[in-house]
């Protein structure tokens, strides 16, 4: 739904959606999406064993429902629970009218089962921890052909030069993102150029005819700022008569964005994955 971040749910909202993806999910904890207590991992582990042994046959070993038992990840009662205060009485008394027998679990076992259920709920809630599956599904040979052919990647890149051992530097998910467009999303008002990408060069020609060139630091409709060869910061008003020439080193990537098929992208990932 939202996601405008700073713009709101779209930004935070934009930001939540645009957060860089890690191949290995970070350990869950309280964050923007998780405002309730995160259960103790040891309790979760104990609770999982109890749940799989005693409850999983009906409710599914992941608690998301089975042939005869409802989904407990979405269960209002389980979501309302704190430390077993709601699920405990149901476990111990059963629901004979619905065919659920009573289970004489101890207080500690009930707390552990409640911790396991909370962890399952939070695993569904916290989308930033979802694990991306295998994405190296393409044809490396076709990817190599695209690299040297239609994609014209070899115009700027070399598998033995700048891309040598590239697969050891980035995991496949990061590699796919960076081959599509090699710049990480970052806050709009962040200072300085993106450290992980080729700098954008800019030349500013003043009304007097003087030209100042350097690395682009900032530009909007009204001002432009650069860092010149000596490292000095220079900013200029974009008044009438001032010409600004920005040379985007990633222009070819922007053009390719509009042309890639998903197969071509996956083939390229498979090819780059061979560069180890």
């Amino acid at each position: 739904m939202f996601r405008l971040l700073q713009t709101g749910a779209g930004i935070i909202i934009l930001t939540a959606g645009l957060a860089p993806l890690a191949a290995q999910p970070p350990r869950p904890g309280r964050n923007f999406l998780i405002s309730r207590d995160v259960p103790d991992p040891a309790a979760v582990e104990r609770g999982q064993k109890v749940f799989v042994a005693r409850c999983g046959f009906c409710h599914g070993s992941n608690a998301n429902g089975g042939e005869s038992g409802p989904d407990l990840v979405r269960s209002v009662l389980a979501l309302d629970d704190e430390g077993g205060d709601k699920v405990g009485p149901v476990i111990r008394s059963g629901r004979p009218d619905k065919g659920m027998p009573a289970f004489p679990l101890t207080d500690d076992q009930i707390k552990d089962v409640a911790a396991f259920l909370r962890s399952r709920q939070q695993a569904a809630i916290d989308r930033n921890t979802y694990t991306i599956q295998n994405i190296v599904t393409g044809d490396a040979k076709k990817g190599q052909a695209y690299f040297n052919g239609a994609g014209r990647c070899n115009t700027c890149h070399s598998p033995t030069g700048d891309l040598a051992k590239i697969a050891t530097k980035y995991d496949p998910v990061a590699l796919q993102s960076r081959l599509v467009y090699p710049r990480t999303q970052r806050p709009r008002r962040a200072e300085g150029p993106d450290p992980k990408t080729v700098p954008t060069k800019v030349s500013v020609t003043l009304a007097s005819g003087q030209t100042i060139s350097g690395t682009l630091e900032y530009i909007d409709d009204f001002d432009v700022a650069l860092r010149d060869a000596s490292g000095d910061y220079r900013s200029f008003s974009r008044d009438a008569g001032v010409k600004v020439d920005v040379r985007d080193p990633l222009a070819a990537h922007e053009e390719l964005l509009k042309k890639y098929t998903d197969d071509e992208m996956h083939n390229l990932v498979a090819y780059l994955e061979t560069l180890k």
């Binding site: 999406l33 569904a124 909007d220």
Partner: protein
């Protein structure tokens, strides 16, 4: 329209003096009063004021500034996304858990109200609704709070959704006669969406409209089973619009759940991602138009549906328009929901065109897949909650639009996925202010901002001005006919709400939120 149907005489008499809102103001163009989220019911955000105009805007200068202070140690979200109400010289606005009243002439604080939260996602709050002397706003933990406008004291609070089920609430309530219309949000865990009307005196439920059908109801055949539809999402998180003559309330609904994994909810998934027309007295559905059948990209259709009294083929028509998150501009007949025009306002790669009803046909190849699908736009969409504006003098609908590519990954491949079931990672985006000809959907002019995301609302005025923010902290006045920049200033943060305006003592004020501050501008006479 009959005034007697629209106004309660007793309330009218009681409210003609003092701080309270005269309900008749809700039926007029906003001049000395900005009585509801969009200024009036139409969602146009067009002001008839012209003291600040194209010929003097270069002399516009600061009138006052106000910086909010929540009194907390850093973890509050203080960004002002609400559009302040202005009633009898007082501005009322909110951030999550906090509300303020300040003097509209000078920014002096009259009161501050703080809600002790029980949790929920604190992403933003869109502000107040007002009924007589009473103000209404929603909280991240899903309470509707009624405050006394005079002093900010709490009259009552009622729970409108369960925070433990991952609901959280952001919309500004919309007041239609004696109905306080409240929506809810939250799509982390597959809960059903709904819209409610609440009683202004007690907060009790008058009606509830479910945004997904229940078993056996009309629309149920667009879901595979009862569990899918009753966990199918469809949040109601952006305030709607209202036509008093037709007595219809128009709302854009949220995306279906699970958000990015559609395999457990095959079908169109009504009434998610739709524009719906409801009777505000009963909550009954009059018509619907689905902007994104079977969405799998988080592209809700919550964006403000704007009422346009215009012409189609030379005939006067009651129209409704939306620049939707999925990248389509839609023009409908608001008496019956029939589609007149569907046209993309950014380049898209997910649609195979539109069907006979004007509804986009999603390309299954562009649904999220485990190995990543490259899609434009990203989940944040071509547009989002920031308010569009329609200027009846130019006939153009203005929207801050985002062109963005993102990799969509399906992460939950089970038959019954849960939560989002997938992730997306934006790789590239550019923002542009676009002027859309409502009759043709063509882009009359576009102002490109470069890389970044859009988060600013838009205001147009009879002073032949358009006000909005750019992604770099500038607040800018444009010529709405041409897109030429006439004035700007740099604020301490990006414009974070929709600008609004009002006139007091012969002086026009323009007020805009930027982060934790409100900035007021005027021209000197």
């Amino acid at each position: 329209m009959k005034l007697s149907r629209l106004v309660f005489p007793a309330l009218l008499a009681a409210s003609l003096s003092g701080q309270g809102l005269d309900p008749a103001k809700l039926l007029k163009l906003p001049v000395d009063t900005w009585p509801t989220y969009n200024g009036d019911y139409s969602g146009r955000r067009f002001s008839p004021l012209s003291r600040i105009n194209a010929s003097n805007v270069t002399t516009m200068t600061s009138a006052w500034e106000y910086r909010n202070n929540t009194g907390a140690a850093g973890d509050d979200n203080t960004s002002i996304k609400s559009t302040p109400l202005e009633v009898n010289g007082v501005l009322y606005f909110t951030v999550p858990d906090h509300a303020w009243a300040i003097d509209a002439r000078n920014g002096r604080q009259l009161w501050h109200y703080k809600w002790e939260t029980r949790g929920g996602i604190h992403i933003g709050n869109r502000g107040f609704g007002m009924y007589g002397d009473w103000l209404y706003f929603e909280t991240p933990d899903n309470y509707l709070i009624c405050l006394n406008a005079k002093d900010g004291t709490e009259r009552w609070h009622v729970e409108i959704a369960d925070v433990k089920q991952e609901y959280f609430s952001t919309p500004a309530p919309i007041v239609v006669r004696n109905h306080i219309i409240v929506g809810v949000g939250g799509d982390s865990l597959d809960v059903p969406g709904y819209l409610e009307a609440r009683d202004p005196e007690t907060g009790n439920v008058q009606w509830r409209w479910n945004s997904t059908p229940r078993k056996g109801e009309f629309g149920a055949d667009t879901w595979p089973n009862q569990e899918a539809m009753e966990h199918g999402g469809g949040m109601t998180w952006v305030p709607g619009t209202y036509d008093p003559e037709l007595n219809l309330y128009y709302l854009g609904t949220g995306n279906p759940n699970p958000v990015m994994a559609g395999q457990g909810r095959k079908g169109d998934n009504l009434w998610t991602c739709s524009i719906v027309a409801l009777n505000p007295d009963t909550g009954k559905l009059a018509w619907y138009f689905q902007a994104s059948p079977h969405d799998t990209h988080d592209w809700d259709a919550a964006q403000t549906p704007v009422l346009i009294d215009g012409q189609v083929n030379g005939q006067p028509r009651k129209l409704i328009a939306q620049a939707s998150r999925n990248g389509y501009f839609f023009l409908l007949d608001r008496t019956n929901g029939k589609n007149i025009l569907s046209k993309p306002f950014i380049d898209l790669n997910w649609s195979k065109g539109v069907d006979a009803k004007g509804q986009p046909i999603p390309d299954p190849a562009k649904e999220p897949h485990t190995n990543g699908t490259l899609v434009i736009p990203a989940s944040g969409g071509a547009s989002n909650w920031p308010s569009p504006s329609f200027d009846p003098e130019t006939g153009l609908l203005y929207v801050n639009s985002t062109s963005s590519y993102s990799l969509f990954y399906l992460t939950d491949t089970e038959d019954k996925p849960e939560g989002y079931g997938g992730r997306d990672s934006g790789v590239w985006s550019k923002v542009a202010l676009k002027a859309i000809d409502y009759k043709t959907g063509q882009i009359r002019w576009s102002h490109e901002y470069g890389r970044g995301g859009g988060g600013s609302g838009i205001l147009t005025t009879a002073g032949k001005l358009l006000f909005t923010g750019d992604p770099y902290g500038n607040f800018i006045a444009y010529d709405p006919a041409t897109g030429h920049i006439l004035w700007h200033t740099h604020l301490i943060a990006n414009v974070s709400n929709g600008p609004m305006t009002y006139e007091l003592d012969g002086k026009q004020y323009l007020v805009v939120g930027a982060g934790d501050s409100l900035h007021a501008f005027t021209v000197l006479h």
